[in-house]
């Protein structure tokens, strides 16, 4: 039996996997990294993160959301330098200790030691200035947007250096949502103009420094951006929703990139979920094929919003592995 890591490599290289990869099983995500301090609020609280972006997580809601209006960090994009100050990436060895210990405990033959990054370059732009203002600024103030993106990219590179120095990750799990369930936010031309080169720099840096696998989370439609994903060095697109026509993507791009998702979280991860719904959706997903595809909830972490759903999906994938392998 292949290890989780070996099985994943067989899937993405077009080899001979001996079962489906079960969601995030191949990634051991190091959430203890001090760089993540303040990224997530506790439910029922609100406050600013390290970049000054104000978030709210109301009690009973399933996640946190940035709040703009009076809290907007960049009040005028032409003066972004006045408002934006990247947080420090320097932390003491003591602050890194828990992350290092976690990374050292991982059997790297079995799993990839994985560095997470939440709120990528596009998300950072709209978190700092609100979605509407950011999207309008791409048209009205492109030079300032390029400058802001360069600044965020430099931060990501500094973050990457610290991560590489401290935990020597095998994989990167990087979040940046680029669309809605129906389309990308930006046209492919605009996406290319603003984001291709910055991401080539960031993902290239990780790969030049020992990272074997780049997994990018984007739980939306983004099929029109796949050529850029390949060019920027993404190995696995996690969060690939069913609206993307996954079989067609596999046929067109399999071998250059793999698709992880196919089980839309909104469809199975809700208070009234049951095993029958889960099994039906997992079966549909597994029918996408054994290669270049990893059945997974589109959720951006190895959890579900409602207790038991993530585990139920795992069980259903096990069943499909027995049936199809």
């Amino acid at each position: 039996m292949l290890t989780k890591r070996q099985n994943l490599m067989e899937v993405i290289k077009g080899g001979n996997p001996d079962r489906f990869v079960k969601q995030y099983e191949f990634l051991e995500i190091i959430m203890e990294m001090p760089l993540l301090k303040g990224v997530f609020l506790e439910p029922g609280t609100e406050g600013k993160n390290a970049w000054g972006v104000y978030y709210k997580w109301p009690e009973g809601h399933i996640g946190q959301m940035p709040v703009h209006g009076e809290h907007t960090v960049i009040k005028d994009i032409t003066e972004w330098k006045k408002y934006v100050k990247a947080p420090s990436v320097e932390f003491s060895d003591e602050e890194w200790a828990a992350a290092v210990e976690h990374a050292n405990s991982v059997d790297r033959n079995e799993q990839f030691v994985t560095a997470p990054y939440f709120g990528g370059i596009f998300e950072m732009c709209h978190n700092l200035m609100s979605m509407e203002n950011a999207l309008i600024a791409f048209y009205e103030e492109p030079e300032h947007m390029h400058e802001l993106i360069e600044y965020i990219t430099e931060y990501e590179l500094a973050y990457a250096k610290e991560v590489i120095d401290h935990i020597h990750p095998d994989a990167l799990f990087h979040h940046d949502d680029w669309g809605t369930q129906r389309n990308s936010f930006l046209s492919p031309e605009m996406f290319k103009e603003f984001f291709l080169e910055p991401y080539k720099k960031v993902y290239g840096f990780y790969k030049d420094n020992g990272v074997e696998l780049v997994v990018h989370h984007c739980d939306s439609y983004a099929a029109n951006l796949v050529p850029f994903m390949i060019e920027m060095g993404i190995d696995i697109w996690q969060g690939c929703m069913t609206t993307n026509n996954i079989p067609e993507l596999i046929k067109k791009y399999g071998g250059q990139i793999s698709f992880m998702g196919g089980i839309d979280s909104g469809v199975v991860d809700f208070p009234g979920w049951n095993q029958e719904i889960v099994e039906k959706e997992v079966e549909k997903a597994c029918n996408n094929g054994k290669l270049y595809f990893i059945p997974c909830l589109t959720q951006g972490l190895n959890i579900s919003s409602f207790p038991g759903v993530y585990e139920a999906v795992n069980e259903a994938i096990d069943k499909m592995s027995k049936k199809m392998f």
């Binding site: 709210k56 109301p58 809601h61 959301m65 791409f138 809605t180 369930q181 389309n183 469809v267 809700f270």
Partner: protein, 209 residues
């Protein structure tokens, strides 16, 4: 190209820095404010259709809506009455328990661009707040409910029921990622739209009876 056609083209192309001057030119040329407004409304109709067809993306829609808004600012002193609205008032918001606002904001901009007066209730809006806004504002013809989370769909249903049970003569339109035409019909909404472009078409259809 006449100034009216140029105004329409500038809104479609989102020429935010030039539109005010062009609207002024159109006025100076002797066009009525109503005709100029109609040319901009027509432009937003084109934008909505192109967005629904996937030919343009969110920034193009936003920049067009902004251009229209800047054009309307020039027209306002010349329009009869205080309001530029001819379709009535729309109360819009994201349902209780949901903080997502992008889709709701886009629909609000498109509806405003097409002649509705907008009362934007924001996000996480309770059924009672929607009902009160529909009662307390003038000429409310439409209530638009947005929701992105599967978990908040019951709140959408509750809001539709409360408004319908109140007997107010308003139509209710719903939308958002998990919402389907079938679900909209099941909860008693009058209309559903999958995106901001088609929301405008549906909203006009609903209020024009």
């Amino acid at each position: 190209m006449s100034n009216l056609q140029e105004v329409k083209a500038m809104v479609e192309q989102g020429k935010t820095k030039l539109i005010a001057g062009k609207v002024q030119e159109a006025l100076d040329e002797g066009n009525t404010a109503e005709d100029i407004l109609q040319s901009m409304i027509d432009a937003m109709g084109v934008i909505g259709d192109r967005f629904s067809a996937g030919e343009i993306f969110v920034p193009e829609m936003l920049i067009a809506a902004k251009a229209m808004s800047l054009g309307v600012d020039v027209l306002k002193p010349h329009l009869a009455g205080e309001s530029t609205s001819s379709l009535g008032t729309c109360v819009i918001g994201t349902v209780e328990g949901d903080l997502h606002d992008i889709g709701k904001n886009l629909v609000a901009m498109m509806l405003e661009g097409n002649g509705f007066e907008i009362i934007d209730m924001g996000v996480d809006v309770s059924p009672e707040k929607f009902l009160n806004a529909a009662k307390e504002n003038n000429n409310v013809k439409l209530v638009a409910l947005s929701g992105l989370l599967t978990t908040t769909m019951p709140k959408m249903e509750e809001t539709v029921k409360l408004i319908k049970d109140s007997g107010l003569p308003v139509k209710v339109i719903v939308g958002g990622a998990p919402v389907t035409e079938e679900y909209a019909a099941e909860i008693g909404a009058d209309g559903f739209a999958p995106d901001a472009g088609s929301a405008t078409v549906k909203a006009k259809e609903l209020v024009n009876g």
